[in-house]
Symmetry: C2
Subunit: 155 residues, 2 copies
């Protein structure tokens, strides 16, 4: 523990309560936003994680991405991407093909159906985002983004 924090804990918790309140607010806000997104996705039969994979694959060229690349680009830690992709393959959203030069790699691509789905979701998701955050003006959104970015830069 850093000396300054130790002092603050011994004094009561003037500082500690603010960081704790901040974490609580981040968590609560994420839960609300996530819940809204999942409600939008539910009629389409995919989870938020699957939607993120679709966006990741759309955002990277037609060559596809291997499993670990997908895993590393996901927002949340996901130790079992193989079976996540299994389910998406069963759903006809992606295909997998072993790389010919390095046979350890398996490239995952969007199918036409997968691409059509993620494209079709742009509008409803944007609408949901606007419903949740549209009442903040650009300066507020920018400030929020900057503070969160700064927060993730652990000293």
């Amino acid at each position: 523990m850093t000396p300054s924090l130790l002092q603050q804990l011994q004094q009561g918790k003037p500082f500690s309560s603010l960081v704790q309140e901040a974490h609580l607010n981040v968590g609560r806000t994420e839960a609300v936003l996530q819940e809204g997104v999942e409600r939008v996705l539910k009629p389409f039969g995919i989870s938020a994680t699957q939607y993120n994979v679709l966006r990741i694959l759309r955002g990277s060229g037609a060559e596809g991405l291997c499993r670990n690349e997908i895993r590393d680009r996901l927002l949340t830690r996901m130790p079992d991407v193989s079976r996540l992709l299994d389910r998406m393959e069963e759903g006809g959203l992606v295909t997998r093909q072993r790389d010919t030069t390095d046979r350890r790699l398996v490239a995952t691509h969007l199918t036409d159906r997968g691409r059509a789905l993620v494209d079709a979701l742009d509008a409803p998701i944007a609408e949901e985002h606007a419903r949740r955050l549209g009442h903040l003006d650009d300066v507020q959104l920018r400030t929020l983004i900057d503070l969160l970015t700064l927060a993730r830069r652990t000293r």
Copy 2:
């Protein structure tokens, strides 16, 4: 969809990208903070959800709380609190007792062991919070909290 958002989508995405970036930042930040907390909790054998239940129970008098009260106070939606409490009961952290006046209710209490555990976690969790967010000053933390609170107030 609101007319203004429709216009913005048709124009490209000058506004939509900011709200989307904000949501992405909230999610990424929460993932980082959550991961840190869970790493702290892992040696103690409890999950972040269980830790939240412990804090909720500590924060409410010795009368205990019924299942739905606990569920409603949790940060994230949790549809199966019964079995969550089952596991905590097996772990000796809580006890349950059916209410005598309204026999539908089952009050959950902290055991001595549960209280000792949540008390013992205060320092390591505060330390973790400080490690993650301690480089933000009070004004920044307060601004972040206010913006997140505002963000959750959907129009």
